[in-house]
Amino acid sequence: MNFTKTESLPAADQKRFNMIVNAYERKLYKKGLKWVDQLIKKYHDYADAISMRGLIIHCMGKKEEGYTAAKGALKIGLSSHICWHVLGLMHRSDKNYVEAMKCYKMALRLSPENQQILRDLCLLQTHIRDLDGLKATRHIILASKPSQRVSWVGLAIAYHLLGKHDVAVQTLQAYEDNDKPASTDVTTYDRDGWPKALDFEKSEMLMYKVQLLEEGGRIPEAIACLDKNKALISDLRAWKEQRGALLLKQGNRAEAEDIFRGLFDENPNNRNYLTTLESCVDPAGVQTGAPLDESTELRRLAFYDELAAKYPRSNILQRLQLNFATGDRFQSRVDAYLQRRIRKGVPTLFTDIRSLYADPAKVAVFDKLIPAYVASLTASQTFPGSSAKETSDVVLWAKFLAAMHDDKLGRTESALKHLEDGIAHTPTLIELYTAKGRVLKHAGDYPAAALALETARDLDTADRYLNGKCAKYQLRAGRITDASATVKFFLKENEEPVEKLAEMQCMWFETERGKAFAQQGDIGRALKQFYLVDKQYNDIHEDQFDFHSYCLRKMTLRSYIKLIRYEDTVRGHKFFFRAATEAIRLYLALHDKPLNAAAEAVLGDSAEDKERKKALSKQRRAQQKAQAAAPTEKPASKDASGKDKKEDKDADGASYLQSTTLLEDVMTFVRPLQQHATQHIETHLLAFEVYFRKNKPLLMLQSLKRAQRIDANNADLHKAIVQFALRVAANGATYQPTVSTVINQALPELLNKQTPKQFVEAYKPATLLQVLRNAEARLLVDPASKSQAIKLVVDAASKASDATIETFSTVQNALATTFGDKASATVVADLARKQYPRATLWK
């Protein structure tokens, strides 16, 4: 029998088909599969059943088979909306959104009012942010099912995302006016003590409406809505916070102040309440950045003191004052703050006050107070100027604080001495060893730092934080296999560290591992790690899909909007930034010096080439080692769920290295940064480097302009501008005329209306890195000025008292390679060694 359309089946079989669909929706795949197989046995060419079968086996994991079945079914039943719908669902779950959209639209054409298809189409449109399409689909749904709440709410969300707040409010209002709840009596309570009329979903919808009104700028109406519906709101804290914020926005500071005083009373450690309360009371005093004049400072301190008297145990009241207090007032307050916490033995004290070290005046105060504590406590077990005896462990915490203080100011030996004293006093205090590791890390001695962390870890093997930190330090020291072994302590028998931590989305591990491989020259493995991080972000972005339907059903609309907005810029997060910038640098290095046999053949005998050859052979050795290790690894096995374990065919990342489109591959990392991390100058500088090699003058211009807007004096930007100007001068004739016009219009702005030569002369470098980049730029402009440029760099290096290890290393490498002057490179290395005697880089 040949039936292609469900509608033409006998009733019993039709019912059975609906049950199959039901089973799919409820994820009862085995049952569904059994029934659909029975149905297909009865009707061989039943297109709908074949496609459903494909869908079910696709969901069970057999994707290839699923697609074959569905496409086969489509051939039989080209006009069956079910077949198209099924194919759309499969594409969607495999993230082929364009294909899925096409399938849904076909299905919709065949069955225009099908609620299922419309709903799935909405989810897809929300997911890919096709907001206009979403609005249109929501209108269709509303027209066909005006009695369902979700139709109205869905439409409101669509308008909200489009920025049309007023229409969204109108939509919600229509539903609200029509919704007759079972009871409005708020005086009878249920068993848990909530009023019976309180309905969480209604409460959330009302709070969402208030949010819409606020975002639409209709503040008085928002306040009125809050007031009218207080009895129906279950999230009272949010109600209060929202009302206070709205009143403040409206300018009604007195009422807002009352509310925030009340909220602060409920939670005297909430920073948000405190700062908002202060802006209610004293809006002029609350500024950021610029130092305050004395009267404002006194006024603010009085405000804080008044509250502190009322809430003596509030940490934040005491801490925030330190941010703007100055002079003796600062000293007396920070003295009390520190003494109290040293006495208590708060390990995170330094982390707490660290942000104050940005102010040199405050650093001087710390440098006065902290050594005094140590001296006084060591000598007489009392704090300076007091005769009360402290307990014997207080001196330990004072030394601990002194060590971190010295480390911050670069006094490595002094810091280590304090920590050694501490360890002699109490060898079992773990914080001493982690601090020692940190100090050694700052001093550039990564192997010793890792050893310190291992000692710390051994003192408490059940502490997962220590375990992770130990692994990180081992990675920094280049001990990659040791780090994996360390992490394995917290995994199960059969779990592999790299795989399991990727599953747990542990990005620091992947990034640090990538950096460690890069340091060893194993670019393939390094890139692989950074791609893993990219994958995590992909997964995080994809995770939002289920919430499009779930949140609308559960009415958690405020959280839903928050989620949407978060997911829109998820790759702006600093973890992605870190991994992406590293990956881009690797790609640039790979492009400049390709690691392959052909390149090696071209290399000559110069010292630099010898280094290249060494790196290449190292790479090859690493590859061989990996291949040798491969046979001893576990054979492809089935894991717990019965799915085939994927063999990692590209363990050493060779496929990344062998790619012929490196500058296109790198765009995977560049584009998200350009979209979501535009506030970091590094984004634009790295983008420039990529476009420089791709030879795209307009994109180079774009990156430079954006970078200049952030920090015109940046060292790398300075050099990049000169590179750009010289490139334009050299290649300008080959550009399309309009392109040339645009560039020539914009170039003077970049060069401060000077010629490249004047530009490099006029630059006033303040840091060592700026001197270096300026020197490199001078070399580009006038190769004959090399020796002068080198002299500038070496002079600056000898005077640089606060250059970091990284800067010295960069300078050393630049002198050796760009300037080709090994002697000066050695001079700089000696200077660096003098400043950082413990750094392994120069030992």
Binding site: A143, S147, A174, L698
Partner: protein, 118 residues
């Protein structure tokens, strides 16, 4: 009914092992069971609702028309295919965006380039 029982047993056996799995996996099995299937609440229709719906649908129609008018205006601008191609190559944007920008700048290539290279 018998086959349901069998399936439940098989499911239980499968679940026993993961149940002893690491704590951080505890919610995974439950999460996998969450489905999209739900019964939707219905409410009574009324004339007010219908009225608002009419308003909204009309608003929507007006939006669509406005958009169409704008698109027609933009489409009326003449743009050269080679200009679009240049923008796509030099600024690495999609053909759609290149064309859109060019139309918005009245076909002025230099203006379009300046806008996109900002």
């Amino acid at each position: 009914m018998a086959d349901e029982h069998d399936e439940n047993e098989a499911g239980a056996a499968e679940n026993a092992q993961p149940a002893q799995a690491a704590h951080h996996d505890a919610g995974k099995a439950d999460m996998d069971k969450v489905t999209d299937f739900a019964e939707e609440k219905e409410m009574a229709q009324s004339t007010d609702l219908n009225q608002t719906m009419k308003l909204l649908t009309e608003q929507h129609k007006r939006d669509v028309e406005e958009r169409a008018v704008r698109d027609r205006a933009l489409a009326a601008v003449s743009v050269k295919a080679e200009d679009v191609q240049l923008i796509v190559t030099e600024l690495e944007v999609s053909t759609q965006k290149a064309e859109q920008t060019l139309r918005e700048q009245n076909g002025d290539l230099a203006a379009a380039l300046a806008v996109l290279a900002n």
